[in-house]
Symmetry: C2
Subunit: 525 residues, 2 copies
């Protein structure tokens, strides 16, 4: 059986600790092993900071953009192989796997273009020069330069390809070397991508390191020039953020945690409208894509009382038609969750929700017989749609995220105020969506929801057929949300670079600052 | 004796705990008392969030700018009274007191203008709309709206006026209500400003609350819409940042900690040059203004070996001429430090520095006889200039900040690389300054130092007479620095608002987004 290795200090390192086995979550067949390696973390960090950091900082943004673009092409060139690994190790349908792997390649490509557009420069000019006192000579100019540290990336199990590459793309483009760690259970795709990157020799030595297994005392090595970006559970995010050395050294931390994202149907949309169809299609996709294991999945569905009957019928019919089983089969619409632990958590979570909600579809999530797998094998759960018994008093639906194909309907009057208050009870979300053709309602909702969400999706009839759903994270828009969602911010085109750069105000004599910072791109330092 | 009160839930609250006495640090004469009040912190936070937050959010940026500007005028109108309090309670000379109080009024005025320029809008548009897929209909637009929480501000003892108002100006302009807490020892100025603001009725109920004494379990009340901004010691900053509830709720935290700021003299400046005079004047001011109790004060002075003799002579002569004593007297150039505890810390810090540096001026900081105070009274320390014995091995000078009129010369070759490496050993600074007329040297230094500093000051001969020194924090430029400096960022004109706003990406149908977000200012929501 294959053993996944770490890549540190420019070499592959085999683990020698107690091994964990990676399995196919549909068949429980073992696929590979991971064991913690005996790593000198101080040395690994120093290698990345010095060899990797110096090499990356010697390049212009445009040159780094070319590297990132080349990695995109490399991933795309091995698309079929990576899709096969994602199906085997991730419980992904072919569609799920494409979403992850094309997402990785697409984000790399987008950031490659961002870098190329920035041109032959090694620093960014932030805003205009400002006169600081009454003298016209004394001015200040903000610039942004790469931090002289390493970026530690700790990723979630649900997007081994996209999660690794969306973070790496931004850090590398910013000129900061990366030490990336995938979640163990689904690490096959990430490990193969790392092999491809190493073999390709696209990146300079030290620019990208890879950790298979635990991170040991890696975080104790970080200092004020380093950054730590984490995607995953709120508990782990809190643990990382409160690490003694992370706090003591003012290490920059970005946390992207799962949240209770909401979809709100406006009362103006009738059952025949395209906006209504878009709503149904989006809820359906966000519930079942990746077996509901998406931090941006819709968990709460606000439906006007007048539309309850229709929504229950339309979602119910389509959810019931989804075939659960081995995602390697063409006829299967939804695979298993990623691990036995996830399955247990999802089943327990459904039970908690049912304390204040009724299952409309899927009961307790049991799957009598999954298609194409040996009886009793695999981590399967059925899509479960619930409805709260009392929208006013229900609490669990706003506080407990079930990370599987599970969503809960919350009936409401159709008034914007009521919907905003309900969404806000989630304590901060990555994304919420509103479906309506009533511009006044959309406006009220957008301004009312903005403080509680990192992203909003306004679905209207004319958008049907033109948009990707609210669950798709795009490189042009920020990703992250306040409160429960972790309070972080990634991507958003140039905005994502800020985390990896130091913004510095430079004050001085106007002609000197102009000469330093406003050269033509081709002459820039 | 006057007892300072808190202002919470729209009413003054008298303390009833064990009282602390505020004294005149020159004469040790008692001035006022502060005692912790029996506060229901949950209620205080709710009052600010609901009454204050709703009232502020109902205003446009321009209207909030007018409020902030009115507070500036109010402070300016009571300038003499506040200066007298600062001299009595802060150990400030008249110049020191003006620096603090005019800094408060000036920052408020600057942010008032920022708000007025933003116009009749309640949200900010962030960047251009971006097309998200192949369809021209589907676009994304970033906006920023006020967070629906409260801003808790915990300020340092050295700038009771400026510290309180620079933070309040930005939060109030952003539409976020403030609960502000001054350091107890020098709270008289802040308490008087609060009385003036309350009496003036400029602000809506709940917009500004004031805590005299401890904050109890205030931080345990905060959630993901709230923010916490702290200025002060690194230890307290770490303690606040790691608070369980702050971490659990993803409360946004900004820390501005003291740091080991550096001044670097270039080897091109001869003793007759204006650049050299600027350097000497800046070091002198940054060492002694506010008795060296400035987070931006120069602590490390890098001097080319060829210039050591001159710098030692010129700084020595001018430092020796400074009269230490009661700052209420016109002939006194430097007052005491703020408290007995500060004095003990400064004396202990000088002793630590002397383990690897020699005192050139001021010995161990003892003041034989302070002018105009009863013998043995007051927290006085003499200006102390040291020089490290071995620049290569010296560590304390880069790690231990002595928060008083103390700086240490570090000889260096004059090479930019060496100076950059030495400055970087400070582990992150708020500001560093470089003095040279050699543009190549200034450029090398600027790009080499940027990652390690929140702000840089490039002093050149032509700037003499036109600039304020590196220790002056200006509202147009960001304030804060990486690593040891706390990793925070305040001010910087519009940049400072980001901490108090939620940036949200809104995706949807192009004409709908245009109608929502690109109205003319006078029609905006």
């Amino acid at each position: 059986m294959k053993t996944l290795r770490s890549y540190l200090c420019g070499a592959w390192v085999e683990g020698n600790g107690v091994a964990q086995t990676l399995v196919n979550p549909a068949t429980e067949e073992p696929l590979a092993e991971i064991a913690a390696a005996p790593v000198d973390w101080a040395r690994a960090v120093t290698h990345a900071r010095t060899r990797g950091g110096e090499a990356l900082r010697a390049l212009t943004f445009a040159e780094r953009g070319q590297l990132v673009k080349a990695i995109s092409k490399l991933i795309h060139g091995h698309r079929d192989e990576l899709i096969a690994l994602a199906i085997a190790n991730g419980g992904n349908t072919r569609g799920d796997a494409k979403f992850d792997i094309d997402g990785a390649a697409g984000t790399l490509a987008a950031y490659g273009e961002v870098g190329i557009a920035l041109g032959k420069t090694k620093f960014l000019v932030d805003g205009e020069a400002a006169q600081l006192t009454r003298s016209v000579r004394f001015v200040g100019q903000h610039i942004a330069v790469p931090r002289r540290g390493v970026a530690v990336h700790i990723n979630a199990f649900n997007f081994p390809a996209w999660g690794m590459m969306e973070k790496a793309a931004v850090a590398l483009l910013a000129g900061v070397p990366v030490i990336t760690k995938p979640a163990t259970s689904t690490a096959l795709v990430a490990a193969r991508m790392m092999e491809l990157v190493v073999e390709s020799k696209i990146l300079p030595d030290g620019a990208l390191s890879f950790v298979a297994g635990g991170v040991g005392d890696l975080l104790a090595q970080l200092d004020g020039q380093d950054v730590l970006a984490f995607t995953g559970s709120s508990d782990t995010g809190q643990m990382l953020r409160a690490q003694k050395n992370v706090v003591a050294q003012s290490v920059r931390v970005n946390v992207e945690a799962d949240s209770l994202n909401a979809a709100v149907l406006g009362r103006d949309l009738d059952r025949e409208s395209e906006g209504y169809s878009l709503f149904i299609a989006d809820v359906l996709r966000e519930m079942t894509q990746k077996t509901g294991q998406k931090c941006t999945a819709i968990r709460r569905v606000l439906v006007p009382e007048s539309m309850l009957e229709a929504v229950r019928e339309d979602l119910g019919e389509r959810l019931s038609a989804i075939k659960v089983g081995d995602p390697a089969r063409e006829d299967v619409g939804m695979g298993p969750v990623a691990t036995k632990k996830q399955l247990e958590d999802v089943r327990a979570g459904i039970a908690r929700l049912r304390e204040e909600a009724d299952s409309l579809i899927g009961g307790d999530g049991s799957v009598a017989e999954a298609i194409g797998v040996p009886k009793g094998k695999g981590f399967f759960v059925a899509p479960v749609l619930l409805q709260v018994r009392d929208a006013k008093s229900a609490r669990r639906v706003h506080e407990h995220e079930v990370f599987g194909p599970v969503a809960t309907i919350i009936p409401y009057s159709g008034d914007a105020d009521e919907a905003i208050a309900q969404v806000a009870r989630g304590g901060g979300s990555l994304v919420s969506s509103v479906y309506s053709d009533d511009r006044a309602f959309l406006g009220e909702m957008a301004f009312g929801l903005a403080a509680h969400n990192g992203r909003l999706f306004l679905g209207s009839s004319k958008l049907a057929g033109h948009a990707v759903g609210p669950g798709t994270v795009l490189p042009q828009l920020v990703h992250g949300g306040p409160g429960r969602a972790g309070g972080g911010e990634e991507l958003g085109s140039l905005r994502g670079l800020a985390f990896y750069l130091q913004r510095t105000a430079v004050a001085g004599d106007k002609p000197i600052l102009e000469a330093l910072f406003h050269k033509k791109p081709e002459d820039a330092a």
